[in-house]
Symmetry: C2
Subunit: 330 residues, 2 copies
């Protein structure tokens, strides 16, 4: 491979100083029109690409931004990453996506790798953590907490879901269909989203004068496997419940998978309310009732936060309402 084309290469080629080339290529006014056009033309011919490394070293913003999500297999995260990636490309941001698997260690490593590259900002779905990350991990990087929030050593932007009302509607609907022993599978209390969704569920149950019997509330680190395990327990009668409400993307998919594996028929064997709305929910057994999130709005807001790199800008916290989608499964 030929050596990289730099402004000096072009300068030599044209027999001028590299400074003139620099000016010509960065829209400075102090270059003769002809000279500028000549330089531009030659640069294009030679395949010049400005070195991001050199700019970064000078202290310019790298326009590198990060996205930390648990995975890309869950359609919610995939769609969000997809939309955000397109928005970033249209706004000249370099987006680097890392997967945390909801593991604080992977999260830490990802943040360190982003730091090496002088990433300017990072949208992160914080992993369930026993202790908050030190501020060192965010040196020079603006964090934007997404979906969940974790305490940070400084105030940070956040984008979260207001799903209390949707959960209330889910419970209300199930009650109207005669369910009383409604179970809830969610993330545990180390997650802000886990706490809030559980609280919303309890509140809704109370509003309908329903007793939350032993075993109806199941919380744990949110995962496909956890959802599958709990749903299997319901189907096996180990958890005495006629309806399931899921409080997490992974949990929802896992619970659904377990039900279908067991050949359960909704809502005959159990009523099912999912969380998140992957495309195929519409096609499973006439449609999975679920709680849907406004992915495009979330991505658009994330982009706005990513573009705001001014460290003195006031912290912004945004919430978006989830929607209860009634289909056949409950």
């Amino acid at each position: 491979m030929a050596r990289r084309v730099t402004i000096k290469t072009i300068a030599e080629d044209l027999g001028i100083s590299h400074m003139t080339v620099s000016r010509a290529l960065s829209n400075s006014t102090n270059v003769r029109r002809e000279t500028r056009e000549l330089i531009r033309k030659r640069a294009a011919e030679m395949g010049y690409v400005k070195s991001a490394a050199a700019s970064a070293m000078r202290g310019d913003a790298t326009r590198i931004v990060g996205l930390l999500v648990p995975n890309l297999v869950n359609e919610f995260y995939a769609r969000f990453a997809n939309t955000l990636a397109l928005l970033c490309e249209d706004n000249d941001l370099h987006l680097i996506t890392h997967l945390t698997n909801d593991d604080p260690n992977r999260e830490r490593l990802a943040l360190m790798k982003l730091q090496e590259l002088q990433t300017n900002a990072v949208v992160t779905v914080p992993a369930p953590a026993t202790q908050p990350h030190g501020k060192q991990l965010f040196q020079g990087m603006k964090p934007i907490q997404f979906i969940r929030t974790q305490p940070l050593p400084f105030a940070s932007d956040s984008i979260v879901i207001h799903d209390a009302e949707a959960i209330r509607q889910a419970v209300g609907h199930l009650v109207s269909r005669g369910h009383q022993r409604i179970s809830y599978f969610g993330g545990h209390a180390s997650l802000s989203s886990g706490r809030q969704r559980k609280a919303a569920f309890l509140e809704a149950m109370e509003a309908h004068n329903l007793t939350v019997h032993e075993g109806l509330i199941q919380t744990d680190s949110p995962s496909f496997e956890m959802g599958a395990r709990k749903a299997a327990a319901v189907l096996a009668g180990q958890i005495d419940s006629s309806a399931i409400i899921c409080g997490g993307f992974e949990i929802s998919n896992g619970a659904l998978d377990a039900c279908l594996r067991a050949n359960a028929v909704f809502p005959r064997d159990v009523a099912f309310v999912g969380y998140g709305d992957p495309g195929f929910y519409r096609w499973i057994q006439g449609g999975i009732t679920t709680i849907s999130l406004p992915i495009d709005q979330l991505a658009e807001q994330a982009l706005q936060r990513l573009l705001q790199l001014d460290p003195d800008a006031p912290v912004q916290q945004h919430g978006f309402a989830a929607e209860f989608i009634l289909r056949a499964s409950a």
Copy 2:
């Protein structure tokens, strides 16, 4: 935010030369044990992170690698990206994913952005192109063509699918169920994968002495929308066919969506063979018969190609066999 911690910061803090710090942090032998440990300790305390920009400027490999896929919504690409991302993290590679939407323009822009960052290698699902990209787009970047291949100005690594046998089995199975007017929806001839899959289909039809009637072969730029449109045409009787074989991920999902929207029942109304095996295919109407790809092996091979940065290494072309998965829909 405090200024970045560099080797000089640490050197000043310790009253030594920055070279000693550099040596201590990069495992050079020429540092006294004590000194090295002291430096290491202080560096950790101060939150030192090596500047990738400075290393890049010196000409070291950036260990940045790229992935260009049409989108992340299709579960095949999402799963592949997911697996590859985890592998890259474990191998200390920075993976940057760009979405092309199968649009050569987006592809070009993505390659240019990767070039700015001095990306070392890129796994790409080439977009349908009218003319091949110039070699300038790949200056300093090793391309690894994935799934499809496009002519490049130089030989390149590739990882493709051998699906002829699976397609043959699909046709054979449909014939055994009495189908004769079998239709095929695939990518058009500007794609290597489109050409090959269509050829495999034609060959299989011929092997069973079936006539490929007018309209049974439908090829176009592969998209969800195209699959949906063609499937709708079959259901509406505009294409006279009792069975559909899909030859692309997007096409498959689109065709499936259209069938389900129209409340079609497989295989009563039409027999359906998909392409790719998203998790939910298993749960739709007792299971979608499909052609499955070995995602983990593909990702593992992609990683191996990404790790091989030696420009003088011989070009490698790898093929993996697809598998015909028989379920209820055909």
